[in-house]
Every structure is written in structure tokens, then in C-alpha cells.
């Protein structure tokens, strides 16, 4: 950010994990913070079937192309999405990954078809957090990465509700990128889900708790 370049963020996961909401919320919070932001869902070869990818750029200056080749922060929430986005890694990329011992809820590619663009994940097939125990994910072995594992799925399931899984991830990202005031991101959450929260005030509290948990999951780590 300091050199005027845009901060490039990718969030990748299974359709239904709330990946696009994270992208939207980051962009919205950045707009509100007076920054330039660009968010675009799902393009490129990494986007197939049930995998969902959000691309976000945040900058103090005008942003160029919506497409980029390497990410400053790559967030992966499932094995498939990690595999498909590894081309975005470069030395110094922060690799934020989900390491709960739960398998991500994988949507059958056939349920979505090859044109997983308009309808990323039919809600009926989608889940934020899986139920099956699985092997915890490990970061790729590339030397210059900065891997950070979190247990958002487990935390959501055990302490809050699976529905706020992505908000925990959003909290972690907010802490890592350092360029957005957490209060601003919280406001963006409140704005986006206003109608839902009005219907169900308990959900608002759960979302804010999830966000706070995400923030605190990241201790000293951060982007320089």
C-alpha cells in the first residue's frame, strides 16, 4: 500500500462457504474508509464447478486492471480451492488457510455444471461448514510463504453457529491486511445484513462475535 500499489486479496473456497460475501464486505468497508476498492467474483480457470473465488483489490490510488497475477493475501477454505489458486502465490504471500479437522462441504461439480459463474452454489446444496471429520489442511511447501492457519470452521460450529464461518474469516483477513479499521468492517456487516438482523437480532450478535473472534485469532501476524 505504501508504494501506491494495490493490495491484492483472493478468497477461495467452496460455493456456499460465503466467499463472495467476504469479498463484497471488504470492498464495501474500503469504500467507506475512503479507499479505492475493486471486487470481482469468479473469473479465470481456477473457477470451475463448485469452487468460488473472490478477487479484491484495495488501494489509496486508482486501481488498474481487475485481473492480477499474484496475490498479497491468499485465503483458501477448501482443498480444491487451494489447489486451483496456487498459481497466485509469490514470495511473501500471506497464505491464510482453514485447518480445522473438518472436511469442507464440497458441492458435486455436476450439481453446478461447468458454468459456475452466475450461480456459484445453489443454496440447497451449499453449506458453510462440513460435518465430516477430515485431515487438517497443510500449507504448500513453498519457502517464502507466510502460512497462517486458523480454525474458523471448528470455532463457528462449536462456539457460535456454522452460518457465521465466513465472518470469522473476514475478521482474520481484516486483522492481517491492517488497512481497514475493524469498526468500519463491522459497519459494512451491519449494512449488508440489515434486513436479516432486523428479523433476527440474535444473528447480529453472532456475526459481531464471529468477527471479533476472527480478529483475535490473528495475534502478531500482519502485512507489512
Amino acid at each position: 500500500m505504501a508504494d501506491g500499489k494495490a493490495l491484492k486479496i483472493i478468497i477461495a473456497g467452496e460455493g456456499g462457504q460465503g466467499v463472495q460475501s467476504i469479498g463484497e464486505l471488504l470492498a464495501e468497508a474500503a469504500f467507506q474508509a475512503g479507499k479505492q476498492a475493486l471486487y470481482i467474483p469468479n473469473f479465470g480457470v481456477e473457477q470451475r464447478g463448485g469452487v468460488s473465488v473472490a478477487y479484491v483489490q484495495i488501494s489509496d490510488e486508482e486501481i488498474g486492471a481487475p485481473k492480477f497475477l499474484k496475490a498479497d493475501l491468499l485465503t483458501v477454505l477448501s482443498k480444491r480451492s487451494a489447489e486451483r489458486t496456487k498459481g497466485y502465490l509469490k514470495p511473501g504471500t500471506i497464505y491464510l488457510y482453514e485447518q480445522s479437522a473438518l472436511e469442507a462441504p464440497v458441492i458435486d461439480d455436476r450439481a453446478v455444471g461447468i458454468q459456475g459463474y452466475e450461480t456459484v452454489a445453489p443454496e440447497a446444496f451449499a453449506k458453510m461448514v462440513g460435518d465430516k471429520a477430515g485431515k487438517p489442511a497443510t500449507p504448500p511447501a513453498a519457502p517464502a510463504l507466510r502460512p497462517i492457519g486458523i480454525r474458523a470452521a471448528q470455532t463457528a460450529k462449536a462456539e457460535l453457529t456454522p452460518r457465521v464461518f465466513n465472518i470469522i474469516v473476514l475478521g482474520a483477513i481484516t486483522k492481517l491486511i491492517k488497512v481497514l479499521p475493524p469498526a468500519g468492517v463491522k459497519e459494512a456487516i451491519a449494512k449488508k445484513f440489515r434486513a436479516k438482523f432486523r428479523e433476527n437480532p440474535e444473528l447480529e450478535e453472532l456475526n459481531f462475535q464471529a468477527f471479533a473472534k476472527g480478529l483475535t485469532m490473528i495475534e502478531a501476524e500482519g502485512m507489512q
Binding site: 463484497e24 470492498a27 469504500f31 479505492q36 476498492a37 475493486l38 471486487y39 470481482i40 467474483p41 469468479n42 473469473f43 486508482e62 486501481i63 488498474g64 486492471a65 481487475p66 485481473k67 492480477f68 497475477l69 458454468q115 459463474y117 452466475e118
Partner: protein, 358 residues
Amino acid sequence: MTGNEVVAWAALAAEADFMYGYPITPQNEIMHYWSRLAPHFGRGFLQTEDEMAAGFAMLGGALVGKKTFCATAGPGNILMQEPIAMAEMMQIPGVWIIQQRGGPSTATVIYSQQELRLTTAGGNGEGLRIVYSTASHQELFEYTIKAFNRAWQYRFPTFVLGDGYQAKLREAVTLFRPAAKGWTLIPAEPLVRGPGIPALDREPVHLRNTFNIEEELYARLEEQLAAYERLTPEVVEWEVEIGPETEVLLVAHGIVARAAKQAQKMLNQQGQKVGYFRPITVRPFPGTALRQAVGANPNLRLLVVESAYGQLLSMVKAELYGLTNPIDTLLKPGVGVTAEEIVATVTKRAPKEVCHGG
């Protein structure tokens, strides 16, 4: 806000009366937002049986004096060429939003700049159209409003040429009422069913697009071509950054021009002398401006960058006919271009490799 939503708001701000549409990705949300907004503002929407019907229904609405528009992409743009040809011949105004997707055929629903040629020169005529190639949400908003004004001012089919990226991405945009900026909206007037009783108060209006003899058609086309020549200097728009020191001129349009601008900045920071030219109207093309920029310096190299295989390039070449400046290319049909790729291309300056590069 997504680009598609921006377009719907722009049409509302431009006081568009009616949208006729047929679903095709990636423009669908324009119809979604418009059909949600329209009833609250006394505007209309009709989903037709195909793009031809949408285009022809647009012409019907415009004929009776309403501001009509439509959005389409890819194969829909192909079908739309038929009504556009009629609009061109009969000078029936209308605004078309094109959100380019990959081609040919169904290809991808994502993105390309492969509809440049089709949008500027499709149809069985001379391509007498006005086409704005936008690069940001702010431009999508402002040029959509402008497109309505141009369409009803000059009565040539007018286009906003966007793409799937612009359609889907979210970035900041400032919406405004045109009056707040001192923009005057040009009202629509009926071409048929105007005031008065035909044959009593006025002559009946009989519009046609067929002619019996060659000379009759030629006379009509001469008039139209002259009108188009007259509007060209009034309509044509471009961006240029060039100096006497410039060694490489990046030429790009639409969203690729954003990558080019960013690359220019990066290269200049590295000490390279790089300029930038972007046609905003891709039809009429700002040929005079480009020729002036290039002609002043015979050593200047061009790098034409586009998400198509030479559609912009052929326009650039036609405008620069006779000049000997070398032209390099970065042509990536159907995929996006990043600033880094442009930087690498300029640095390598190896056109053979970069033709298929990235």
C-alpha cells in the same frame, strides 16, 4: 455496486422510458435492476422472446417517441445486429448496452473485447453508429447517460461497450442527477403518431427501409454519411498522454486501457518513456488524434493491447496508414490483461513471443 446495477441507475437518470430485453450473461442484472426500479418510476420493461424481438420492439417504442434501450452480449449481440441495421438505415434512435463475453459462439460468459468489430461495424451497411468503450463504473454511469443524449440528438444507434468484468465487478461510483451537473437531457420525439390527424392536419408519416433503385439508396446513404461526418468531430473522444520524449505508446480501449494506464505508470517509474492512447469512442474512431500523436515522432513504437486478436489493431493500422512507426502487439482474445503483462511486454519488446503471451 456492480456495473450492471450502475447501468440501470444511469438509464433511470437519463429518463429512459422502456427497456426490452432477453436474458444472456453477463448483462442479466441490468434487466433485474431495471425491472425492479421501473414500476416505481413509471418506466416499462418487457422480456421478449429473443434478442431480435427485443431490438425491434425497442425501435417500435422509439418510433412512437419513447426513450428505449436494451442490453445484450455475445450471441445476443449477433442477433441484435438485425434490428440495429434497421435503426441505422431509418435513423431510429436507441441505446444498446453491450457487456462483451468470450467468443466466438457461446464460448464463455465471462469477458472479452471480441465484440468490438461486431458492435462498431456489424450489420449489412456502413456501421453508422456511436460506440463508447467504458473503463470504469463512473464511466458506465456517465456514458450511458451521454449515450441517450447522443442517440436522440443524432439518431444513429448508440452503444455503451462494456464487458463481463465491468458488468460484475464492484467499485466506487458517484451517481448524480444529470441536472445537478448542468447536463441537459435531450427529449425523445415521436417519429410516427406525432400530434395531429394524418391526412387532415398533416401528411401521414410513411417510413421505409427499402428502395427501388440503386441511385435512390445511394442518395439516402450520401445524406447519412455526410451527417455522420459532421457529427464525428462533435462526438469523438479519447485520452492521450504523450510527450516529445515518449518512446513507446500503449494503445488500448475499455477496461484494458486501465491496465495500460497502470503499466504506463509502472514503466515511467522505472525510467522508461512510455505514453498512452485510449479511444473512448471506438466508433467514430479518434483517428486524427491518434495520427497526430504518432505522426510527430517516427521513432515512436506502438504497443496495441487488447482482449481480442487484432480487432483494435486493425482500426489503429487503418488510421495510421502511410506512417512507418513499428507496431508491437499484446493480443489475448477472450482473457483479461494485467498491467504486469504489459510491463513485461514493453520490457522484452519481442512481438513474436508476446503475440500469444501471458
